[in-house]
């Protein structure tokens, strides 16, 4: 049995021969093939565009996740500053999970970028071959003699057919990778939308933020109370208390003059 390299080339060759054998006049194959080549060029360019779109989607998601990470980091600090280690721990746990997801996205991003480059190069190679083929096709047609044409067409056709097979495979592989990636990207979109990751616009509140807000307002109340207690114990009635105790002026006034007297 022939080696693997040879067998692979024979498979490409067989495909080209099959197309050649189908045509009664090999010259027909030239035009037919040229149309196919142009179609494939379109297809590979669309392939590049598709991969680019998917790559940009990943970039956007990574950005959103990064914002979320920063937010959780701030929340952890705020929680810790208020002595709520449990809350800080929860925020950091979520942050770490998101960081794993970002790392995963980055790996996929690199993968897509490589596919994008491969397809871009494939498009360039195919374009060069298609241009060369067009020239050759016209020459062959112009100088056509049956015996000569058969071989010349065969050569040109096998070469371009091989390139087309190669490019076709590259497109297929890129599509497979993009599809696998898109499924995961959708899952992250759903996660972002469901509020499991709080959305970055801040229009809805996550539970950690709610707890921090609650603590902040509780602290505000405590501070206010403490301030008022201080004022009371220092004997300086606030305006509100003074107005309310107007009826007991008799008992309040001596105390006030007593204080003044001893001063």
């Amino acid at each position: 049995m022939a080696g693997l390299m040879k067998r692979m080339s024979l498979i490409f060759r067989a495909k080209a021969n099959k197309v050649l054998d189908r045509a009664e006049d090999p010259r027909e194959t030239l035009d037919y093939s040229y149309t196919k080549q142009l179609e494939l060029l379109q297809k590979v360019r669309r392939g590049v565009a598709d991969v680019t779109t998917s790559r940009k989607r990943l970039e956007l998601q990574a950005q959103q996740l990064q914002q979320q990470v920063e937010k959780l980091d701030n929340q952890a600090r705020a929680a810790l500053a208020q002595g709520r280690e449990d809350l800080a721990r929860e925020a950091l746990t979520r942050k770490s999970a998101l960081q794993n997801q970002i790392a995963d996205l980055q790996a996929q991003h690199a993968n897509l970028q490589a596919e994008e480059e491969k397809l871009t190069l494939a498009a360039q190679r195919l374009q060069a071959k298609v241009d060369a083929f067009r020239l050759k096709k016209e020459t062959i047609k112009a100088t056509y003699t049956a015996a000569e044409a058969q071989t010349r067409i065969g050569e040109a056709f096998s070469g371009i057919s091989e390139e087309m097979g190669d490019v076709g495979l590259a497109i297929q592989r890129a599509e497979d990778k993009t599809q696998a990636m898109q499924a995961r990207a959708s899952a992250i979109d759903e996660l972002l939308a469901s509020g499991a990751l709080e959305d970055v616009t801040g229009t809805t509140k996550d539970d950690i933020q709610a707890e921090l807000d609650r603590m902040a307002s509780t602290n505000q109340v405590e501070l206010e109370l403490a301030r008022m207690k201080n004022e009371l114990s220092a004997g300086k009635p606030t305006p509100a208390l003074g107005a309310g105790s107007g009826g007991e002026a008799g008992s309040a006034s001596p105390a006030a003059s007593e204080t003044e007297g001893s001063a």
Partner: protein, 92 residues
């Protein structure tokens, strides 16, 4: 001799290089038959490097076919089997 590295283009390699490639090709073939992904990757990697380092890259507008073809570096045994199994799998 002209060899195509799928996804990379065509290279012209000397007989000497082809001889070196053939030795590795036996290992590559055996790996595909055994389904030994690791051995496959190793042999393929070495072959690709040989072609890239010793071969001459043909211009993109070269229209001739290749006598030998090698799968892309990140191909799996399964992919190669599918390619060899049925010519209809080659698109385009």
């Amino acid at each position: 001799m002209i060899i195509r590295l799928l996804g990379q283009g065509q290279f012209d390699v000397s007989e000497e290089t082809v001889a070196a490639l053939n030795e590795l090709d036996a290992a590559l073939q055996a790996a595909v038959e055994r389904g030994d992904e690791l051995a496959f990757r190793q042999a393929l990697g070495e072959m690709l490097v040989l072609v890239q380092e010793r071969g001459h890259r043909l211009p993109d507008d070269y229209l001739g076919p290749s006598e030998l073809v090698l799968p892309p570096a990140d191909a799996t045994v399964e992919e190669v089997r599918a390619l060899l199994g049925e010519e209809g799998l080659i698109p385009g």
